[in-house]
C-alpha cells in the first residue's frame, strides 16, 4: 500500500500543481517545480551514466567474454573514464576546457559520420522494402520519394528546358503543399490527441509507470 500509494500521491499532486500553475501563470510555483524536476532529471542522468559504466565494468571483469565483447566494453569504459577525468580536472582548474576538446575531436566527427551514414541506411532500407513488400502502400511510398528526388534534381539542373523543370516544380509543390501538409497535420494532431489522453490518464493516476 505504502509502496504504491506514496508515488501515486506525489505524481497526482505535483502534476496537478504544475498544471494549475501553468494554466493560471503562477510563475513562482511553476518555476520552482520545474527547477526541482530539472534537478531530479539531472541526478537521474548522472545515475544512468554511472549505471552504464558499472554494467560495462562488470562485463569487462566477466571470466567468459561473449563474442569479444570485452574489447568493446573496455573501449567504452576507457572513453568514459577519460572524459570523466578531464571533466574533473577542468572543474578544479588543472586544465582548461579539455572536455570541449574531446567533444570537437571525438564526439562531433563520430556523430557527423553516423548522421551522414544515414543516406546509406535509407537507401538500403528503400531497396529492401521494394524487395520484400510489393504492396500498393510501399509502391506509393517509393514512387513519391523518387518523384520528389527527381524533381529536386531536375529543378536544379541547368541542362533541362525551363518548361520541363517548371512542370516538375509545380508537381512537387502541389504534393508538398496539399498532400504532405495534410499528412503532417494529421500526424501532429493525432500525436497531440494521444499525448493529451496519456497525460490526463497519468494525472488521474490511471497509468502508473512509476509503480514497478
Amino acid at each position: 500500500m505504502l509502496k504504491r500509494g506514496i508515488p501515486l500521491i506525489i505524481a497526482i499532486s505535483f502534476g496537478g500543481l504544475t498544471l494549475i500553475s501553468l494554466l493560471f501563470s503562477i510563475t513562482e510555483i511553476s518555476s520552482l517545480i520545474l527547477e526541482w524536476a530539472s534537478f531530479l532529471a539531472a541526478v537521474a542522468l548522472l545515475l544512468g551514466a554511472i549505471n552504464l559504466l558499472s554494467v560495462h565494468t562488470h562485463r569487462l571483469a566477466a571470466h567468459r567474454p561473449v563474442g569479444g565483447q570485452n574489447i568493446y566494453s573496455a573501449a567504452l569504459v576507457i572513453s568514459m573514464l577519460v572524459v570523466f577525468g578531464l571533466g574533473m580536472t577542468d572543474l578544479i582548474g588543472l586544465t582548461n576546457n579539455s572536455v570541449g576538446v574531446v567533444f570537437n575531436w571525438i564526439q562531433a566527427p563520430l556523430e557527423a559520420a553516423l548522421a551522414s551514414l544515414l543516406a546509406f541506411f535509407l537507401l538500403l532500407s528503400g531497396i529492401r522494402l521494394l524487395q520484400r513488400q510489393r504492396t500498393i502502400a510501399s509502391i506509393l511510398f517509393l514512387a513519391t520519394a523518387v518523384l520528389i528526388l527527381l524533381s529536386n534534381a531536375f529543378i536544379a539542373s541547368p541542362i533541362l528546358p525551363q518548361s520541363i523543370s517548371s512542370l516538375f516544380q509545380q508537381l512537387r509543390d502541389l504534393i508538398q503543399s496539399i498532400i504532405v501538409t495534410s499528412g503532417i497535420r494529421g500526424i501532429l494532431i493525432g500525436v497531440a490527441l494521444g499525448a493529451i489522453t496519456l497525460s490526463i490518464r497519468l494525472l488521474l493516476g490511471l497509468e502508473r509507470p512509476y509503480n514497478k
Binding site: L8, T18, W36, A119, A145, G186, G190, L202
Partner: protein, 215 residues
C-alpha cells in the same frame, strides 16, 4: 599540431564508422562504443557542472534560508533515487520517478494543447496566413480528417469474428493511408537529400583539410 592531431583522430573515427558500408564489423562496433562512452560521460560532466553543482553551491552559501529549506524536497527525492541501486530499497526511488512523471505529464498536456493542437486547428481558419486557394484549403482539410480517421482503431466484429471498421469509414481510411504513404515518401526523400549533403560535406571537409596540410 593540435589541430592536425584532432583532424587525424576525427578522420580515423570517421573511417571506422564508414566501414559499416561493407557490413557490420568490429571496427564499426568499436567506434560506436567509443561514441556511447564519450557521449554519456560528456552529458554527465555537463549535467554535473551546469545543473547539480550550482545548486549545491547556492545551498551551501545560505543553508538556512527558506529557498534552501524548500530544496530539501528534491534533494531527499534524489537520495531516494540513488537508493534505487540497492534492491531492498529500490521501491523508494519510485517517488522521485513519480514526481518526474507527474510534472512531465502536466508539461506535455499544456504543450500538446497550446503548442500543437490549437495552432494546427487555428491555421485552418486563418486565410491570410496561407498561400492555398479556398479549394486547396478544403481539400487539405478533408485529407487531414482522412489521415486522422486512419488512426481510429475502434470497430465491430462481423459474423466471421473478424474486426472491421464501420462501413462509412472505410473509403476515408483508404484515402488517409494513401496520404500517409505519400507524406512518408516525401519525408524519406527530404531525409535522404539531407544525409547525402552531410555525406558529401564530410568527405569534402577531410579532402580540403588534407589538401591544406599537403600545401
Amino acid at each position: 599540431m593540435n589541430d592536425t592531431l584532432g583532424l587525424v583522430i576525427g578522420f580515423i573515427l570517421t573511417l571506422l564508422i564508414y566501414s559499416y558500408v561493407i557490413g557490420d564489423n568490429p571496427a564499426y562496433r568499436l567506434a560506436v562504443h567509443i561514441l556511447v562512452g564519450v557521449s554519456a560521460a560528456y552529458a554527465a560532466v555537463l549535467v554535473l557542472r551546469q545543473a547539480i553543482l550550482p545548486i549545491v553551491a547556492q545551498l551551501a552559501l545560505n543553508p538556512l534560508s527558506l529557498n534552501s529549506l524548500l530544496w530539501l524536497v528534491p534533494i531527499l527525492l534524489a537520495l531516494l533515487l540513488i537508493l534505487q541501486r540497492l534492491p531492498r530499497f529500490a521501491w523508494l526511488g519510485d517517488n522521485a520517478t513519480a514526481l518526474l512523471v507527474g510534472v512531465g505529464a502536466a508539461i506535455a498536456l499544456m504543450g500538446a494543447i497550446t503548442g500543437t493542437l490549437l495552432p494546427q486547428i487555428l491555421v485552418f481558419g486563418d486565410a491570410g496566413n496561407t498561400s492555398l486557394s479556398p479549394i486547396q484549403g478544403i481539400v487539405t482539410a478533408v485529407l487531414t480528417v482522412c489521415t486522422l480517421l486512419t488512426f481510429q482503431f475502434t470497430g465491430k466484429k462481423n459474423e466471421l469474428g473478424e474486426w472491421v471498421r464501420p462501413f462509412w469509414q472505410r473509403g476515408f481510411v483508404q484515402i488517409g493511408q494513401a496520404v500517409l504513404m505519400i507524406t512518408f515518401g516525401a519525408l524519406f526523400a527530404g531525409l535522404l537529400s539531407t544525409s547525402l549533403v552531410l555525406l558529401t560535406e564530410r568527405i569534402g571537409y577531410y579532402f580540403a583539410q588534407f589538401m591544406l596540410m599537403l600545401q
